[in-house]
Amino acid sequence: MQWWMAALLLAALAVPIGLLYKPLGNYIAWVFTSPDHWRPERWVYKLIGVNPDREHTWHSYLRAVLVFSAVGFLLLYIMQRLQMWLPYSLGLPAVSPDVAFNTAASFVGNTNWQAYSPEKTMGYTVQMAGLTVQMFVSGAVGICVSMALTRGIAYHKRGTLGNFWVDLVRAVFRILLPAAIIASVILLTAGAIQNFAGFTTVSTVAGGTQVIPGGPAASQEAIKMLATNGGSFFNANSAHPFENPTPWENLFQVFMLVLFPFSMPRTFGKIVGDHRMGYVILATMATLFVIAYVSITAAELSASGTAPQLAGASMEGKEQRIGIIGSTLFTTATTGTSGGATNSMHSSYTSIGGMVAMLHMVLGEISPGGVGSGLYTMLVMVLLGVFLTGLLLGRAPVFLGKRLGVTEIKLVGIFILVLPVLALGGFGISMAIPPVRAEITNLSMSTGGPHGISEAIYAFISVSVNNGSDFAGFNANTPYLDTVFGILILLGRFIPIALVLALAGSFANQGRATSRASELPLHRPQFVLWLVILILYIAIPTFIPVLLVGPLAEGLH
């Protein structure tokens, strides 16, 4: 019975996504290929002093990405530090330097790791003018980078990748802002709040008192999901009834989270002129998504573990209206994208359910991944797949007319190493420094034993892969972890971006390598299966040792 429900819920998600795949993917492709600038866009270009028809080489494109992100980072940091002087700060003081650093890195890096409790830390001005703005633009930056790589593959001997400023302005004004306005209105119909009321104290039905929070939550919620951010207005994130009041809205939230990432393969196919490759990427993303959904749902429905067995179901940390299946679908989507929003507390999941969430993140967020980042990360995996196929078949590895030479494969190799080096290296080094280990085990972990280790591993993976979800019992708000996590987020975001742009630049300089006839057979289902196995095989063994001492040990309890 419950499995039927789970299948229906997945179908209710898959049908609208499937129907929108072509029109939305084509629309995004048009946004990034149309030579015409809209009049308001021209005003913006004039105001900021940009010639929109001048194209960037990969060096200039990367420089623009980094400069823009650095400026955004500084502004967000300053805004938090000056909070007490901003309007609608709700009497909250300036955010402490380490939390402000961590938060600025986290929102600029599209991670939205939240070391703070929003209700108690951030006033309305910082939430709106600071955090909400970065939710738009950090997502837009991801889209821009994926489009630069797409153009690098589509262009021959052109050398340039488009204009970053134009891409950014279009991603925001033609894609994310209209979508966010529509989504906000839909959220309002469900009952998400949008006001400036602050906190009101009421006398309850039974004669006690209760504080009722206010705030512009719906507008932030819309972009939090659409741009796979995850930075919530409330501490409970999407479990909070003011953000996620009804079961259908819960499904709509999942829809928002995966909408753009699942449509971007179409955009890629359209721009490079090969729709079948779009379907190959979509099929790989969807297969991994379904594997994760089935695994997490099976783990939660099994209710294994002492506490779930005792209670009769794995309902700790889950909402009654959403239920177990609505929670596992959301968790699948949030760990497969760079979402990081949570509608149920991952920390209270069964040990296997929590472990699958971690494994889903370490695939690199490609099922379907963040807006933009999902596409470029998946393309890197496709390139690796093509290279290995070429080796197996004894043919030159060529992808859509582009030769994969030594430089390209080096870039792909380094890209794949970034996540394990940051997550496992960061965790390993931190635990090897005695005072830091003492602080993490005594102060940060909510409990000893394997669950404490799981909390810490989850956190290191989540920040390194720019996810932002957590085992929330873990107290990451210490000066050491705020700093290290901020640095890991920035490295985990911008090293891959730099590598992808270098790759794009190298492709854009190449001419067409061979005739189509001698290309590898990349459009068959076998290649999808090969990619799925390859992705699982690269990610999972790397993380098995650390999972053994965390969730697997807990499961054997």
């Binding site: 002093g49 108690k120 009722i212 206010g214 506490a307 179901a313 940390g317 009654q320 507390m345 309890h557």
Partner: protein, 197 residues
């Protein structure tokens, strides 16, 4: 270096444009739409009692215990809350499946709820003994409502049928029959019980 300097200038100007449009105009537009067309919902689906006094929100659970924390028998009891239904905070217990404190809590809640409602422990449903993710869950399962009906009816001197009719009124099935779970809104139900008087 010249290039970088120029880029910084562009980035600063563009960020100002974005702050004005995305950080100020966009939330204000949505606030305007919300306040104009979804007034009650945008302000938190607040509930008023007979006297027009605001007593809470239909979306946020609240405590139905006395000052000492003992559950009041004349009210349907909500799920346990890790933040004691404090709306200025929100969140779950985040305790893992093998956490001894969680195991002890569930054991104790189960015994207490069974005794309080006069039913065997096997009839206490999962949602009754587990804290929600938000700590503000306004709903309980129909199964948890069912074991509380007799106790509430007795404490209020009402017939079981009267109470059951109200429970049915505030019970919602899954959206479209398959999205989400069946649930009973405890806050609205208890408010309606009080209004009966």
């Amino acid at each position: 270096m010249h290039q970088t300097g120029r880029s910084i200038l562009i980035a600063v100007r563009l960020m100002i444009v974005f702050i004005v449009v995305l950080g100020i105009a966009y939330p204000l537009l949505i606030t305007g739409i919300g306040q104009a067309f979804f007034h009650s919902k945008a302000n938190g689906s607040l509930l008023q009692d007979r006297n027009g006094q605001t007593v809470g929100s239909a979306l946020l659970g609240q405590s139905f215990s006395d000052a000492q924390g003992n559950p009041l028998p004349q009210y349907f009891q909500p799920r346990p809350s890790a933040v004691n239904y404090d709306g200025s905070d929100s969140g779950g217990s985040n305790q893992g499946p093998e956490n001894p404190a969680l195991i002890a809590d569930i054991t104790q809640r189960k015994a207490q709820i069974a005794a309080f409602n006069g039913v065997p422990e096997s009839e206490v449903p999962p949602d009754a003994v587990t804290a929600s993710g938000s700590g503000l869950d306004p709903d309980i399962s129909p199964a948890y409502a069912a074991i509380q009906v007799n106790r509430v009816a007795k404490a209020r001197g009402l017939s079981v049928d009267q109470v059951q009719a109200l429970v049915a009124k505030y019970t919602t099935g899954p959206d479209l029959g398959f999205i989400g779970e069946s649930r009973v809104n405890v806050v609205q139900l208890n408010l309606a019980l009080d209004e009966l008087r």
